[in-house]
Subunit: 249 residues, 2 copies
Amino acid sequence: MRTTSRHSRTRGLPACTRCLARVQGVCAGAGRNDLGWLERNKSHALFDKGATIARSGSEWPFAGTVLSGLASLSRTQDRGTRQVVGLVHPGDFLGHPGRTTARFDVEALTRVEICAVPIQPFERFLQGVPGMQHRMVEMTLDELDIARAWLGILSRRTARMKLASLLVHFALRQNTSPLPGQGCRVDMMLTREQIADLLSLTFETVSRQLTLLVNEGLLQPVTRRVFLVPDLQALMRASGDDDDGGLKP
Amino acid sequence: MRTTSRHSRTRGLPACTRCLARVQGVCAGAGRNDLGWLERNKSHALFDKGATIARSGSEWPFAGTVLSGLASLSRTQDRGTRQVVGLVHPGDFLGHPGRTTARFDVEALTRVEICAVPIQPFERFLQGVPGMQHRMVEMTLDELDIARAWLGILSRRTARMKLASLLVHFALRQNTSPLPGQGCRVDMMLTREQIADLLSLTFETVSRQLTLLVNEGLLQPVTRRVFLVPDLQALMRASGDDDDGGLKP
DNA sequence: CGAGACGTTGAAGGTCTTCAAAAGCGGTGG
DNA sequence: CCACCGCTTTTGAAGACCTTCAACGTCTCG
């Protein structure tokens, strides 16, 4: 298995104009002319599952947008124990303006595909495009909101609630407009062990709670990591105080 | 008990030049001349314990720095349940540039004293002072780091570890330079119930774990909410994987 | 002092973890 | 193709941990 990353110039990358980052990512702040600069300077970075994308304390290798896969931001505590403090989904941006060193380890939880621009040219580029500068600030604020939303997941009291919250989180990230009452698809992309890691649980508990949710009809297994959610509202209810899952008269 | 806030013009406020915000807060980005503007426009806001400082979705009433007390940022879930997503300590800033509505409820956990500036004049002021603009971005990034550090506390597996983490968090915020091997003082400022709320535990568990930590000599009670930490390193060890509390041979 | 909020302690029960075993799935090579 | 291997997932049983319900101290302030 490859554990290193491969960079390749632009090859295989979608044109900026049809990239998802154009709509929701950094590039939403770029004008049409600026896109040309990005188009010329971007390159493709691939990371295999388990690869380290950035290490806490060391320099950010690049600024970039995740195109596919899933990465985790984690802190390594004093001794060995690792704590995940956030997830990076497709469309999310990696790197911060004015901050050259990483504050957290970034690890590829699955195979990860990134559209990357070398950090220094990007910084200089930012100076000249006020729209993108402003966009970067906005994105930092968004990131803050996301970190706090993530807190809301982790701080749930029971394993059931944590898991339901995480499923909802993935569902909302993967389904652009989940209609209420409409079913939707959720790809966890992770092993039970990785999920357990995220939620500070054991993989056995994750497995048990998942089968419970399936038995209750809140989930339908498609593959082992992909589920159908028949009723997202119901799942959201299960992620909160849900003692009345056993309906009270 | 008063539940509303009182604003009073500058009276009782320390001069900007000797304010802690000058060193570590927003104002660290301000020049000497800019301080004059702040000095003229700042006012004093007092909130009693339990008072709402800002409500999610509604407009920020002001931009300001907390001078004393402790406030919580919390999300109100779909139904009733409230989840704390962060703490605001003295020296911390409230409000965001370019974002006029609050994303979270801000509640005074104790009596809170704030040095406030009306939001619109402050926004205009920011435009003219590049140093402070930059400082605001930095502070947002810091806030992000703090939110993620907070995640590290909440995601601890056992009540003992959560509590130890929170104690360390407070210790580091309240003691500017805690020397290793040196004792330090921690003021929790909160009731057992509020602590339990923060950590998603019950107040009984908090009480029990605190007495355990005291019995082990990791804490010495000063008052019910103030403790002496004889060995901060030891407490930090207790906040991680600490099975060897029962020393292994 | 008496009331009310805050804090401690005990016992029973539920949830999660730990240790252990076995089954399912995906590859590789004979 | 199938046997085999490693990794993932499920399931079971025992025990640790946390919560719940309840009673009792303690502190503070009118």
